[in-house]
Point group: C2
Amino acid sequence: MNSSNTAPVKKLLAVLDGERFDRPPVWIMRQAGRYLPEYREVRTKAKNFIEFCYSPDLATEVTLQPIRRFGFDAAILFSDILVVPDALGLPVHFVENEGPKLQPLDPARNFSELHGEVDLDRLGPVFEAIRRIKSSLPKETTFLGFCGAPWTVASYMIAGKGTPELAPSRVLAYRNPLYVQQLIDRLVDASIAYLNKQAEAGVDAIQIFESFAGALTGLDIGKFSIDPIARIIKGVRKTYPNMKFIVFGRGSGGNHTRYAQETGANAVGLDWAVDPKWAAKTVQPLLPVQGNLDPLAVVAGGESLDRHTDAILEAFSGGGHIFNFGHGIVPETPIENVERVLKRIRG
Amino acid sequence: MNSSNTAPVKKLLAVLDGERFDRPPVWIMRQAGRYLPEYREVRTKAKNFIEFCYSPDLATEVTLQPIRRFGFDAAILFSDILVVPDALGLPVHFVENEGPKLQPLDPARNFSELHGEVDLDRLGPVFEAIRRIKSSLPKETTFLGFCGAPWTVASYMIAGKGTPELAPSRVLAYRNPLYVQQLIDRLVDASIAYLNKQAEAGVDAIQIFESFAGALTGLDIGKFSIDPIARIIKGVRKTYPNMKFIVFGRGSGGNHTRYAQETGANAVGLDWAVDPKWAAKTVQPLLPVQGNLDPLAVVAGGESLDRHTDAILEAFSGGGHIFNFGHGIVPETPIENVERVLKRIRG
């Protein structure tokens, strides 16, 4: 018997490798977040959100908090998808109750606002946090790095802020598709460099967040979302051939099957609007799925929460499944409701 | 040769009856809207939006305007989905730049805010507008009535306003599913009564708008969206057995196939996030489809608009298709871009 046989199993990583469990591994998007009193306390120690992301001490602490409290099967690096534009030369500010603000790119400037390459030194504190988290995590906990997908990140750089239906990016993608393509190409390169350093620092697997898949016209989803994600995954695997990826295309509807088949992902994240019975028939035969409890079901709690949790467990019981919410946990979620879900999943 | 053989063909109605055309019929959601200067002029004659909806003169005029200007294959009644809650006893006010406001329902009051039945007298001006429009429309123009689907209308009644992700309705649907089901049942009855009167006044076919399908958890889409729509369609067909229906479930992703198979619809509307190539393989074999050009492609114009228009025409060329946008036309749309799309479609 060699040592690998006695090492604790990283259940989530095993699912990405094709294993199935009667009780699926579980983590929650935004599990290091404001619903936790211990998070809110640490949050007061940074003077703004971007400084919080760039503090190895604080980022390490809040990444570990939900693991200590709930024993999730995965820890996800505490950071933000907008550190990439920040390290490309577009400073990001987070305005309380308004979200992130950037100086919007001006297509007439032909990318003179941006560095030629992503500034990995600027991102040094992120890699330092990864090393510290790595050394503190239980051996059975899968450690997830992440980045935003190029279309989602580009949308912030074009609009200078979050916009519900991405009108500025969509109009620009029609008016000046070449410029948007070039921006996406830059973000593909930056993401590969960034994720390679995350891998070097010690993450076990990576989630790519295409939070705005549902705002992209179905006709352009290949060009602006699926193909760039595929290039990132292929790019990282040049250096880290065994790196595993979860691709979460929020609101991508029928295109979840394309994310499964065309990106090189090892699992596909499903948002809460996806019917698990539909996904069990169409997506799960292709790849393990992750999801997809409505975060507001967890705000509501009670028997309704149990029924929805059970329905997801039941629908996905025939294949690879990582239990998660269908979007990030919201600040007003009662902690006892999180405990209730976990008990239901773990039995 | 009898007279019906020489009557002009209502192309859109023919598609709903299973016919196919090399050049699909076309209309545009919100075609009577602020992008038209003649609409903006008429709009100034009503002191608020709800009065506008209840003025047979003004509603008739703006319904006919886009038919005169563009010769669309369908006219859609100018009105608003919220006249139903208004006629159920929840007055609706439209606040400039903020949208509709209602007094939110209080579950503790057990529907005492609402009339037992929809007040069809209150809606009399709508039916009067239908009669006037009917008598003025070209014989080849299909005349569409409409209503909001119960989940979408209920969401406004619960929140008292539009909300991007329907948090109040979703939480209530988990906390008090019985109350939400009872509200939906009331809206099913009200919608049947309302649509029967629209049919009596002369509409040729009806579109049901489930604008918020994408905000409903996939697990509840059957109970709260598909089943109520099916009951409305069945209910109207008790009196009007040949009435045709288009069901538009915006953001419903993989569930477009369920709207096609389980509601009794004659066509399914597709939003702009749907990949036409995917829908041509999965939805169109079941029913004719309607859609799905991104309204912002029409804002942008140019060759990109041509390419996206062509791609939709091409993808849906093998089956029943009604050309439309994938959401309502927006006020900033240049009229010459609408003309450009129409020329492309009509050849």
